[in-house]
């Protein structure tokens, strides 16, 4: 049984079809890289998995259960989420930001959980715990965002272009950190990116989306060896990863 699945999911925004019968699966402990241009529907797909977006047709399965039958608030608290801009609460100190989900669940050890997660992403709680987001660098803020997604110990983490706004060196650092954490915790992850190199580096398999449709899903080797469509071939050539 797969950890996450989309079955012929359709989503329209007015006249625009954002997702056009999208089907794919993410196995337990697997990281699926989702790649596509702006408007390809990749973020919309990601947001279906924690019910920030409700499909017009089709089903989303989370741990085998139809997501529509799950309580959205509980589902979100049980799913890690890292947005591109960090989305930290500017008026909360770092420790409180990271402790958000354990605190929402009423955990008495929310701060301990937060400090564990901070160490995981390489932030010393003593040094960073009491700072405000404004006092951090861009890379540190994204580390906090990742720590916040992990603090409650979710099985699934959704990442929406998490490192897209960082400079190349910081991005490489964070990618390394993310890879190590994933392996250590055995996380299931969906990582949306517009950077094919990042998708190849972090994803066990890659889904290529174009105009709301899945062009191809496969490992990096499969994509290189047998691009399913001219679009995928062109994408690989342009990105010079073929």
């Amino acid at each position: 049984m797969s950890a996450l699945a989309a079955e012929r999911v359709v989503k329209r925004f007015g006249a625009v079809v954002a997702l056009d019968a999208v089907s794919l699966e993410v196995g337990r402990g697997e990281c699926l890289g989702v790649i596509g241009e702006s408007g390809s529907g990749k973020t919309t797909l990601l947001r279906c998995f924690n019910r920030l977006v409700e499909p017009d047709a089709g089903r989303i399965l989370v741990g085998g259960a139809d997501a529509a039958t799950l309580d959205p608030i509980e589902l979100r608290r049980g799913t890690g989420y890292v947005p591109q801009d960090g989305g930290l609460l500017p008026h909360w100190a770092v420790r409180r930001n990271v402790a958000l989900v354990p605190w929402l669940r009423g955990s008495a050890e929310a701060d301990d959980a937060a400090e564990r997660a901070m160490r995981l992403v390489g932030l010393e709680p003593e040094r960073f715990g009491d700072r405000r987001p404004r006092e951090l660098s861009g890379g540190e803020r994204q580390r906090v965002a990742v720590a916040r997604a992990l603090a409650a110990g979710p099985e699934v983490v959704l990442l929406d272009e998490p490192f897209g706004a960082l400079d190349a060196i910081t991005r490489a650092d964070l990618q390394t950190v993310f890879l190590a954490i994933r392996r250590e915790l055995g996380l299931t992850a969906v990582l949306v990116t517009h950077d094919l190199a990042e998708a190849f580096l972090l994803g066990d398999r890659i889904a290529v989306l174009r105009a709301g449709r899945v062009e191809q899903v496969g490992t990096a080797a499969e994509l290189r060896a047998t691009p399913a469509t001219p679009y995928v071939r062109e994408l690989l050539e342009r990105a010079r990863v073929a």
Binding site: R47, N50, L52, I73, E74, L75, R76, R77, G78, Y81, P83, D85, G86, G87, L88, L89, P90, H91, L100, V101, L104, R132, R134, A145, R148, A149
Partner: protein, 507 residues
């Protein structure tokens, strides 16, 4: 807390055996007459509540009709033309009989017998203007009117027995007509800013500025006999008050009245002393020799004037602050939740906010006038009017602040499982608090300024000396209200700034 205070105020207003409420219109003679009424009643053992300078004809009469006040001095001609809306009549007796009968029949309001003098409208020009154009009568004025600029009170411009009727009767036209407050009219004429003004025939200021009064040669202005106008119910409640006021019948002649006006408006004597002397001279009260120092201190500079009245000013400032605090607290209690609710639920939010914004376009004095038929006079209608004025800045800022608060943080908090209520409480509201507080501060400062208008419905506060000072052309008196009001505005803003520092989250 705001609601409790309002209920308390309602209870106070509805208290059964209240004193006789005596009001006046905002000009010198009306102040003197009302004060004479008040002192006479007090001398006869009747408790009195004074509401000097309550408002122009419309406001004062509405207040009398609604039972908010019991007595104010009025003129028979005004009753006939402005209130009954009838055509002018020439004979004073006929006018008095007509208004007596009609007021009694329609509203149960009585005209007590006339006081003994007429105060009709007068049209005045500078002496040199009269000489240059050889002006003696209003017919002469009609000849050169198109070359002259008129500065007239709003009352006179609007009422049928004022400019519109006069223009018809004499074919009178001016190069320009400006609406001027009674207080600045004479100064504007003396300074040559306008050439023609309206005034009253008993006006003390006509002598002060050595003006030429033009004769009403076609007898357009109807007779304006002064008399006490008494509301329904006073006769049953306090027949002794009616009897006391009737003692004044036909006792004040034109010369006496002009003399009293002159003392008040030209010499700057306090109205209490002018009224007390008048009653003593008429033999209606014993003269209690208590020389006041107000008029003397008047000439010793503003600082001295303010110092001498510090008690009174402190009391008025406290009252002012009460009006502001009650109305602002009420507006915060309504507008903040409404602004938050609009963000969460409503598609018609912008429309709602704009509709509330329309309240802001109602002139303060008009809003306050609307309140009289609904809520009478005093603190309650003033607080309600100020409350309505405070809504918009608070509502607009709350809605905008909550809506636009850190969209990234709101999106992430939602994605991680905060409920909409938690997002509001922990993210939107704290982050919007500086914007909300800015709205409250704006409302507070506007409120302090607008509350000076509360004087016109007898709510007290620092508007009292401003309104009275305007009516009496007394700069010191105006400043004794305006300066504390300005300081109060700064103080309120500073205080709310302190509150803001406490509630604003450290970012």
């Amino acid at each position: 807390m705001g609601t409790t205070a309002l209920l308390l105020l309602l209870a106070i207003q509805a208290a059964p055996s209240r004193p006789v409420v005596i009001a006046s219109k905002p000009f010198g003679e009306s102040y003197v007459l009302a004060e004479i009424f008040a002192q006479l009643l007090e001398a006869r053992g009747v408790a009195v509540d004074r509401r000097p300078g309550l408002g122009a004809t419309e406001i004062a009469f509405q207040a009398l009709r609604g039972g908010a006040i019991d007595v104010y001095p009025e003129y028979t001609g005004t009753g006939l033309l402005a209130i009954l809306g009838e055509r002018p009549r020439r004979d004073p007796r006929e006018v008095y009989d007509r208004v007596s009968r009609e007021f009694r029949r329609r509203w149960g309001i009585r005209w007590l017998p006339p006081l003994g003098f007429e105060n009709t409208y007068a049209v005045a020009v500078r002496r040199e203007t009269a000489e240059r154009y050889r002006l003696e009568t209003l017919s002469d004025l009609a000849r050169v009117g198109p070359e002259l600029r008129a500065g007239l009170t709003a009352d006179f411009i609007g009422r049928p027995d004022g400019l519109p009727g006069l223009a018809r009767a004499y074919g009178l036209r001016f190069a320009e007509v400006r609406a001027l407050l009674p207080a600045v009219k004479y100064q504007a004429l003396a300074a040559g800013k306008v050439d023609v003004i309206d005034g009253y025939s008993t006006d003390g200021l006509i002598a002060r500025y050595d003006l030429a009064v033009l004769e009403d040669d076609r007898r357009f202005f109807p007779p304006y006999e002064a008399a006490a106008l008494v509301g329904r119910g006073l006769a049953e409640r306090r027949p002794d008050a009616i009897a006391a006021l009737t003692e004044l019948s036909a006792r004040l002649d034109v010369a006496t009245m002009r003399g009293l006006n002159q003392r008040l408006e030209v010499e700057g004597e306090p109205v209490e002393r002018v009224a007390a002397d008048a009653l003593a001279d008429l033999g209606l009260t014993a003269l209690v020799g208590e020389p006041t120092t107000a008029a003397e201190s008047h000439r010793q500079g503003l600082a001295r004037y303010l110092l001498d009245r510090r008690r009174e000013l402190l009391r008025m400032t406290a009252r002012h602050l009460l009006l502001v605090a009650l109305s602002l607290a009420g507006a915060v209690a309504v507008a903040v939740p409404l602004g938050v609710g609009l963000e969460r639920f409503s598609r018609g939010a912008e429309t709602t906010v704009r509709a509330v914004g329309l309240l802001q376009t109602i002139p303060g004095i008009a809003l306050i006038a609307f309140m009289i038929p609904l809520l009478g006079i005093g603190v309650l209608p003033a607080v309600v009017a100020l409350f309505l004025y405070s809504l918009y800045p608070i509502l607009r800022n709350t809605w905008t602040g909550v809506r636009d608060a850190a969209p990234d943080a709101v999106a992430a908090a939602t994605a991680l499982g905060m409920t909409p209520g938690q997002v509001l409480r922990h993210v939107r509201l704290p982050l919007a608090s500086p914007v909300i507080m800015a709205g409250i501060r704006t409302a507070g400062v506007i409120n302090v300024g607008t509350a000076t208008l509360a004087a016109f419905i007898g709510a007290g506060g620092l508007g009292d000396p401003i309104a009275a000072g305007l009516a009496l052309s007394d700069t010191h008196m105006i400043l004794s209200g305006a300066i504390p009001a300005a300081l109060l505005a700064l103080g309120v803003d500073g205080l709310l700034g302190g509150v803001e520092r406490v509630v604003r989250p450290a970012v």
